[in-house]
């Protein structure tokens, strides 16, 4: 009885998958997106990029949910967060996920960068992907910092002031950077609006396409250091060495033949 149900379920699911594949090409697409050969050495360390992508998606999802309650004004910002945490069902959970995954994200990105560095995955032809990765880290850092300020509690407010002051030390442009970050010459409602615009719109809009390019380049060049790549490079190297040795031998033989024929 059970084996028959199992077989039927399998048949049905296969039919469904085939039907979807015929009409949309979804299975092929998923296979293409989800499978990527990685080097044997390192194994799980190659999942750090995927973990980063997962956490960023989590940020987008929980961030959108938080927007249903968050009020970006100096008088209501913290109150709206407090309301969310104390009155809204699962408010603590949703905000907790947003907060903690943001913290973990920064750590995971750091580890991902270290793995890329120590496995030499920044070398040609993958330099551009390294540069894009650095830009992504930069954006994520500003996202984390602006998110901190959005709470507009004592911690967030003073952290932003410190950030503005750090920005004011920019050579030649310090005054302009500070005025841009403050939205004037003092901290107030316009400052929070700016932080909100940066955190919710501008930076995610910059982040999303760069992630797309990062993934495209990863797929184009593959993971660096795979067994296949090493094997191929070693084979090419050996072939080149053999060719060189062979050409040297040939030259020597030719010289000898020339000498004997003259003699």
């Amino acid at each position: 009885m059970i084996p028959r149900i199992k077989a039927r379920t399998l048949d049905l699911s296969q039919t469904t998958v085939d039907w979807l594949e015929d009409r949309t090409g979804l299975v092929t697409m998923l296979e293409h997106f989800l499978y990527e050969p990685v080097p044997k050495r390192g194994k799980w360390l190659y999942s750090l990029g995927s973990a980063t992508l997962f956490l960023i998606n989590l940020q987008f999802l929980t961030g959108i949910l938080l927007l249903f309650y968050y009020v970006p004004t100096t008088t209501e910002a913290w109150d709206s967060i407090y309301y969310m945490m104390t009155e809204v069902y699962f408010g603590t959970l949703i905000r907790g996920i947003h907060f903690w995954s943001a913290n973990i994200l920064v750590v995971v990105i750091g580890l991902h960068m270290l793995r890329t560095f120590f496995s030499g995955a920044y070398k040609a032809p993958r330099e551009l992907n390294w540069v894009i990765g650095v830009a992504l880290i930069f954006i994520v850092t500003i996202l984390a910092f602006t998110g901190y300020a959005l709470r507009w509690d004592a911690e967030g407010f003073w952290a932003w002031e410190v950030g503005v002051k750090i920005g004011s030390y920019t050579p030649f442009l310090g005054n302009y950077v500070a005025a841009f970050l403050l939205g004037g010459d003092t901290a107030g409602p316009a400052t929070l609006s700016r932080v909100f615009a940066l955190h919710v719109w501008l930076l995610p809009a910059a982040l999303a396409p760069l992630i797309g390019v990062h993934l495209y380049l990863l797929r184009k060049h593959g993971e660096f250091g795979s067994d296949f790549e090493y094997t191929r490079r070693l084979a090419e190297l050996r072939e080149r060495q053999q060719m060189e040795e062979y050409s040297v031998l040939l030259e020597e033989e030719n010289i000898e033949e020339d000498g004997s024929s003259r003699g």
Partner: protein, 212 residues
């Protein structure tokens, strides 16, 4: 033949027109949003406009309250017009008690902590111009934001120093740096002492504190 070498069907004139149109289109698409976002930078840095209305003197307290050897801290609130609150709106909200404002603290001390001789053994009363001049020279009124990264500083009674809790900036009673990373002394308010001994400050400093 030069005509044969000219394989590109675009003529020089057409190329220049396309270039000019492209530049114009690019400018039309980028300049308005850029200026829109940079509006506060233009207003505060190029047009010298401030969020704090000019010539607004705020009363802190009286010279007769400033103690010997330590600062007295006043909470000072300046009306603030930022972005949306036009002056008319500001007036309206002020009447309803909801005016935008920026709250700071001012640390007031006598130079080196010494009460001036003219105030010793003298009760409260009207001050002469000469007395006001002398007191003005001997009064320090500094803002409580550290000059390093803007954190709020506070007076430590046991150390007799002004300390910044963020990175350990230390200032003396007059607001001068005596240790840590601050690049300069605490920012001094523009102030005036009036005949009745009242101390008034304005949102104006001996430098640009940025975050104040």
């Amino acid at each position: 033949m030069p005509e044969e070498l000219q394989k590109d069907p675009v003529s020089r004139g057409e190329f220049l027109v396309m270039g000019a149109l492209g530049t114009l289109l690019g400018a039309v698409m980028t300049i308005p949003p850029l200026v829109f976002v940079l509006d506060p930078v233009i207003k505060s840095e190029f047009l010298d406009q401030s969020d704090i209305p000019e010539a607004e003197w705020i009363e802190l307290g009286s010279v007769f309250e400033v103690p010997q050897g330590k600062p007295i801290t006043y909470r000072v609130e300046f009306p603030q017009i930022q972005s949306y609150a036009l002056e008319k709106e500001e007036e309206k909200t002020k009447q309803e008690g909801k005016a935008g404002s920026i709250v700071e603290a001012a640390l007031v001390t006598w130079r080196d902590g010494e009460i001036p001789d003219i105030l010793k053994g003298r009760g409260e009363g009207r001050l002469s111009e000469a007395e006001i001049e002398e007191l003005t020279e001997k009064l320090n009124i500094v803002n409580n934001h550290c000059t390093h990264l803007g954190c709020p500083v506070r007076w430590l009674e046991e150390k007799r120093e002004i300390l910044c809790p963020c990175h350990g900036g230390i200032y003396d009673l007059n607001g001068y740096v005596i240790g840590g990373p601050p690049p300069r002394a605490l920012y001094r308010y523009a102030f005036e002492i009036r005949e009745n001994g009242g101390i008034y400050v304005r949102h104006e400093f001996d430098g640009n504190p940025y975050v104040v």
